[in-house]
């Protein structure tokens, strides 16, 4: 017995030694981070230009939250408008690298200023009686090999410029980061946000008091008021635009809860024989319908994907990998086109549409659908009892109800509210354990209605500039109800529609159909012979090689050896080597990367 106790004792010692490491002293960091001047000091202490210079992928250092080249009102970019409205706060700019042709990143708030940062920091230290103690801030980031230099840069800048600080860098996986974020065990967190639709609300929405994404516990009545009014179209036109400008200023300059770092761009090498691969700002990254191949003899586009497809159910799908595929195998009422051209979107399934203002203040869009058949995974027209099934208005209504159904737990359920669909707020208020009748009633009251097989009425609480563009967003794609019901459900009560690796459990109405879905191997799309706009589709086949965990250097090498037509330069090393390649393309992405401060630390 003694020996067993001894064994336990030894194990205890070993564990004890490990556990003591993690314990940290006091809540000093929490008190400090809730002081706006501390947050401002941190904001001012980091030279953002250094990192983007290191990256060499065309990313800008950002002192602003709403990205540049994202939203313009009356032809004035949001950033220029902000600079014009608050000239005293936003005068400084970063000089972009480059010798003869000096360019600047757009201006913003809290520009890098070490002297001011030090002053604010010393003041705050005195105010809180910090003395000689070291303040340790918990900095939560997700692991991504190519971003390690950024995390280290932030850590070193803060520790160097604000004496007496220590940044406890906690690198975890993306999933772990989100779960720690929900628990609130951090002071500073690195986050990014890519817009869902082309309006600043998609960014500002995050920090509303009760927003599910507002994990930092930020709450400001003025801010809430401004954003809510703009979102619900209580104010319109100039007033709305000004409200958006002011809301951003409150967030970044007055309260300093968000500290922007940079606006990311992705640079990729692209086969010069491939044309019209237009990067989209919202929704799927690319619509392959438009792509033209000038390769001699081959109309196959070879692409590389570093992840398997998580979810191809258009109403619950929410990630870029799935969207990329969905955008080409299915089609919404509209389809994204060249975002830099005159037509950011063009008609898709909808042939034409008309808009009427109702007496109650709502707006109704009436879409006329064209006759385009559903296609199976063998490329044939889908028939029931010998009758060809066309994409009908009912299919849209059915899909949108699925999107709203709380039992489906769709992450993009809020898109119904975003477009301002009538009845969306009632649907959002539903809980999955509500009675079946309640749910059915609320869903049936949604403002989407099939007038006849090829006429769809969509009634909105308020019209918006982004509504028609959003109709190309995968959440709004149609689903064939009869087929959906015919595939049945599995043990857990899930639908078998779009089961993993089984394209035969799906129907397609896009320019391509999904002919082969093999995880970790290949995804193959084949040109659909029965698509309505067949002549416009140039590619015969799209092949994605799926290589999870591939290193950035290997990806580039595969491109150089001709195995793929496109390679994203994913880390600083490959960017340095190839970013000046004549075939390199900068994406024009509008994803913002920033730090959030945990202002409501509990």
């Amino acid at each position: 017995m003694k020996k067993v106790l001894f064994l336990v004792f030894i194990l205890f010692i070993i564990f004890g030694a490990g556990c003591t490491k993690r314990t940290k002293d006091s809540g000093l960091n929490e008190v400090m981070i809730e002081d706006v001047n501390v947050r401002r000091a941190i904001s001012l202490a980091i030279n953002k230009g250094y990192y983007t210079t290191l990256l060499e992928n065309g990313s800008y250092p950002a002192d602003y939250y709403i990205p540049y080249d994202f939203y313009a009102y009356n032809g004035v970019d949001f950033r220029d408008a902000a600079t014009a409205k608050y000239p005293d706060l936003t005068s400084d700019k970063y000089q972009m690298p480059g010798g003869s042709e000096v360019t600047y990143a757009p201006g913003g708030y809290n520009h890098y200023d070490v002297k001011e940062a030090k002053r604010l920091w010393e003041e705050a230290k005195e105010k809180h009686g910090v003395g000689d103690r070291t303040v340790t801030f918990k900095f939560l980031v997700h692991s991504a090999e190519s971003w390690t230099p950024l995390y280290e840069h932030i850590k070193s800048e803060v520790e160097k410029n604000l004496p007496g600080t220590k940044i406890d860098l906690n690198v975890v996986t993306f999933g772990e980061k989100l779960s720690i974020q929900q628990q609130g065990d951090y002071d500073i967190i690195f986050s990014g946000w890519g817009p869902d639709y082309q309006d600043p609300i998609t960014f500002l929405d995050l920090y509303l008091t009760n927003s599910g994404l507002n994990n930092i516990g930020y709450s400001n009545t003025k801010y809430d008021q401004l954003v809510r009014d703009a979102k619900n179209a209580v104010i319109t036109g100039d007033a709305r635009f000004n409200a958006l400008l002011e809301a951003e200023k409150i967030l970044i300059n007055d309260d300093v809860v968000v500290m922007p770092i940079f606006q990311s761009q992705a640079v990729s090498l692209q086969n010069p024989e491939i044309e019209n691969l237009w990067g989209q700002k919202v929704g799927p990254d690319y619509f392959l319908k438009w792509v033209k191949s000038k390769k001699s003899g081959s109309k196959t586009l070879n692409l590389l994907e570093t992840s398997n497809i998580p979810d191809l159910k258009s109403w619950t799908s929410q990630d870029q990998v799935s969207f990329y595929v969905l955008g080409s195998i299915n089609e919404g009422l509209t389809i994204g086109h060249n975002p830099r051209g005159e037509t950011p979107y063009v008609p898709g399934v909808a042939k034409s549409w008309s808009k009427t203002e109702n007496e109650s203040g709502t707006t109704t869009y009436r879409f006329q659908l064209r006759q385009t058949p559903w296609i199976t995974s063998t490329g044939e027209v889908y028939k029931v009892d010998g009758v060809t099934q066309y994409v009908k208005a009912q299919d849209f209504a059915f899909a949108w109800k699925l999107l709203g159904d709380p039992r489906e737990a769709s992450p993009y359920q809020y898109m119904l509210e975003t477009i301002g669909l009538v009845g969306a707020s009632d649907v959002m208020a539903l809980r999955s354990d509500d009675s079946k009748e309640n749910i059915e009633t609320a869903l049936n009251n949604l403002g989407v209605e099939a007038v006849d097989d090829f006429t769809l009425d969509v009634t909105l609480e308020h019209d918006s500039t982004y509504f028609l563009g959003l109709m190309s967003f995968p959440s709004f794609y149609p689903i064939q109800e009869a087929f959906y019901k015919s595939v049945g459900t599995d043990k857990q009560g899930f639908t078998n529609y779009a089961s993993s690796q089984k394209p035969q459990t799906m129907l397609f109405n896009g320019p391509f159909y999904f002919s082969s879905w093999k995880n970790d191997d290949k995804h193959i799309l084949t040109k659909s012979p029965n698509y309505w706009d067949n002549e416009a589709v140039d590619l015969q086949q799209v092949v994605w090689l799926v290589k999870p965990n591939i290193t950035p250097a290997t990806e580039v090498e595969m491109y150089l050896q001709g195995q793929t037509d496109r390679a994203v330069l994913r880390d600083a090393a490959t960017q340095k080597e190839h970013s000046t390649d004549p075939n390199a393309r900068v994406s024009g992405s509008t994803t913002a990367w920033y730090l959030e401060f945990n202002v409501n630390n509990h």
């Binding site: 030279n47 480059g98 692991s143 690198v171 000046t580 075939n583």
Partner: protein, 385 residues
Amino acid sequence: MPEIVNKFNFVKNKAVETEAISGKSLGYWKDSFRRLLLNKVAFSCLAFLLLLYIFSWIITLTSNTSTIIEPQIENPNTGAYIEKQYLSGLPPRIKGLEWFSWFNGKSTFTIPKASLTNPQTAYKYREGTYEINSCTVDARGVEMCSITQDMYAQNNIEFVYFPFGTDDGARDQWIRTWFGVRNSISIGILVAIFDIVVGTIYGAIAGFYGGTKIDNVMMRFAEIYGSIPSIVLLILLASVLGRGFWTMVIAMVLTGWINVATMIRAQFLRYRDHDFVLASKTVGASSRRLIFKHILPNVVSQLVILAAFDVPSAIFYEATLSFIGLGLPVDQPSLGNLITRGITNRVMLPYMLWIPTIILSLILLAINLLANGLRDALDPRLRGR
């Protein structure tokens, strides 16, 4: 006959002398140590490792250069600190060794030829700081040139010397490498010690009671426990304790002791029924006395050898874990971390890969050779061969 007697002298009876022990008698440990000293390779490896480890502690404790913040160097011309961007990615440069191409502060890398004239990038290739070695057209029809550039001249900091260069984050690789050496060797040693302690206790108990229920339960437990992949244990532990040096050590010990325990148990089974143990038992020695005083000393040599082979495998394992992103946190350099970083940058900043790799390989090589030497010196089966 008398003549014969006179002719042949009796050889002096040397029986006593020949059987006398000439030279001092040597104990087991003394003898082993002597053997180790005689093995020049093993001994020089031991000396090398000790020096390296002590040196790493001295350097890391005395240096005031940070492993996180870029070195703060004053520019004598302007009096200001050199900005971070000019200190990033500098190759090794040692005063007096500039004639040697590895330490002359010049980088050789390949870029598209257009970079030299592109207004966005041309400022990085100032006239006179680089020379073009050769140009080729790659498979996509882009002209790529291999150029050799004096990075120190390009950044106007020719008065600075970094013996191991700086990394892509502008930190001094010299100090980071020594931190890495310190951390890696420490992990190896600690893991080996804990493995031996835990494994010995467990294996000794199981072996001593060999064949009984206690043994059976203990070995089945070890078997089941050993089947949980160590990576899963590491991730579980990291999610509870957070990533760090001690998490790493504990996680390795959690699975590492099983091998030691199995080996010790086998040895105990062997010695348990020997006469000296039985004799001791009959005069009433307690189990603890039997285990620790009688059997364990016989196994010590095996333990030393096991430990010696355990150190390099722990270092190696840490390096592999770093590569898949489960190693020490990024702000705590280990050789594995440094090499992983080096692999990412191997094309543009190759010295970031080869310096830590050579050092790691040397350490592993030295420990392995030392372990071989120890085995030759300690293992009774291999003695004298």
